[in-house]
Symmetry: C2
Subunit: 293 residues, 2 copies
């Protein structure tokens, strides 16, 4: 069993990005600039945004954090989105989800100029990814593909089972895994809460991408020997063993599943760091106007 | 074994649409108006477009056929697209594919105003469908879902195997089959030319949607008893038994597979008529501005 070290790969990629930014700077080009909009003080969101800001520093990007209290109106937030859309210095920006219930996340996502949508959530980027056109691929699916690539894991013709059909992980990673590309070219099965044959499917899988958001869902008796397991789950489970009072828990019962795996990602330190670094890659692409002008 | 009569369902839906158009007319509303752009004289394309124009008549729509010779330049074609985008009387239009090699199909598709893109090929419509937002769903996937619905075929929790990963059938129908909806909620596997376990997958399938474009690919020994088979193939195979010199051939070896099926669509008379009627439904939605304003 080999542990897939998302943290090490992410660090490596950040160094690669930082080098490219140095070159851009040396050539008198524009330093990529990411803005993050954070509404309220949700613990998870605070942490994610702080990691993103820190990753910007490591990559040599400029970053701007825009904060709103959780009682911000939808209209105010949309005005800020519009302002960021029109700010020539901002290459890309994200609005950290989830948003308070009185704000329509979909409305906010669609208000973002797709050319600055480095989260890849805008329908145009989703559609272009599905068709196979250049676009901002959303960060978690992109990070998973990058891990498979850097570890040289064969996907072609393999059976990949995706657990979960969310818009931000399950569906896009399924699309990427089936596309004519490397990594890609896999037979892809998407299972979800309504699947009656989920265990049967998992037992056949060469690769399992677990993105249900159900802590320790995938058990040892659900996987075959030699499987590759990518754990996307990051549920905060209460714990008296940590200072913070919670523990990030994946969708995979690691101690049972890991011994049967050829490769497995841990939680934390697997997909998580790759998600942030994928956002950095998208920001670099946005800064270079490599996808859209 | 029950034959799924796509022709009968399509006729039924056309009558439903025609009734609604009568009501619109009676209320002094605008009659939906579809334009079709046909480049060159490809036999298949001529037939499809003729069927679409005829279906418009049956539905009580206005239709306009715009013809170009196959030496039309990309620029000329794009000018026409722009003209149709800006013609307030045209509610929706299609550019019949394939186009001659010197014209970029993708460029043409993206030039169409997504609000008039009744083929549902524009990235915005593809993305919105993937996310589950109101949009023009492309005609063949929409037609397949409608057949499953009208025949009250259970899809929830079932294993649906999609053969083919094309942008216009395989990928979108897989997305629709997995969505939280009825029909939908299926475990979905997408197999394609690189799949190493295609037969094994088909043998497990409760529902098979065959969209590879390989005549008689799915054989009797590849399906289990009681399977539902939807045949999307329409390859023109030379034949000395027909006046036209060819025969429309599906992806399914019908005589072998049909006896094992609970339901099966024939070719012709299955998915084909539903594809055209789905275009009519999109045109009606466009005319009513039911999706976009």
């Amino acid at each position: 069993m080999q542990l897939i070290d998302g943290k090490a790969i992410a660090d490596q990629i950040k160094r690669e990005i930082a080098e490219e930014v140095e070159q851009i700077k040396a050539a008198g080009g524009k330093i990529p600039h990411l803005a993050a909009v954070l509404v309220g003080h949700d613990g998870g969101s605070e942490t994610y945004v702080a990691h993103k800001v820190k990753a910007c520093e490591q990559c040599g990007f400029r970053s701007t954090l825009v904060r709103f209290e959780s009682d911000v109106t939808e209209a105010e937030l949309l005005r800020k989105v519009d302002e960021l859309n029109n700010d020539a210095d901002i290459d890309g920006f994200i609005v950290q989800l989830p948003l308070p219930k009185h704000i329509s996340e979909q409305k906010v996502i669609e208000a973002i100029d797709y050319r600055k949508d480095v989260d890849g959530f805008h329908p145009i980027n989703v559609g272009r990814m599905s068709i196979g056109l250049p676009c901002f691929v959303s960060a978690t699916p992109a990070g998973i593909m990058e891990l498979l690539k850097r570890y040289d894991i064969e996907t072609r013709g393999k059976h990949c089972v995706v657990l979960g059909r969310s818009n931000i992980v399950g569906k896009p990673v399924a699309t990427l895994m089936m596309q004519k590309a490397n990594p890609g070219d896999a037979t892809v099965t998407v299972c979800h809460s309504r699947s009656s044959n989920l265990k049967e499917m998992c037992l056949q899988a060469d690769i399992i991408i677990a993105a249900l958001g159900v802590p320790e869902f995938l058990k040892g008796d659900m996987v075959k020997e030699g499987v590759v397991v990518v754990d996307v789950g990051t549920t905060r489970v209460p714990s008296d063993k940590t200072k913070s009072g919670f523990k990030l828990t994946g969708d995979v019962k690691f101690d049972e599943v890991a011994p049967k795996c050829s490769y497995i990602t841990p939680v934390p330190g697997g997909v998580g760091p790759m998600t942030i670094v994928s956002l950095m890659k998208n920001t670099l692409l946005a800064g270079k106007k490599a996808i859209y002008r």
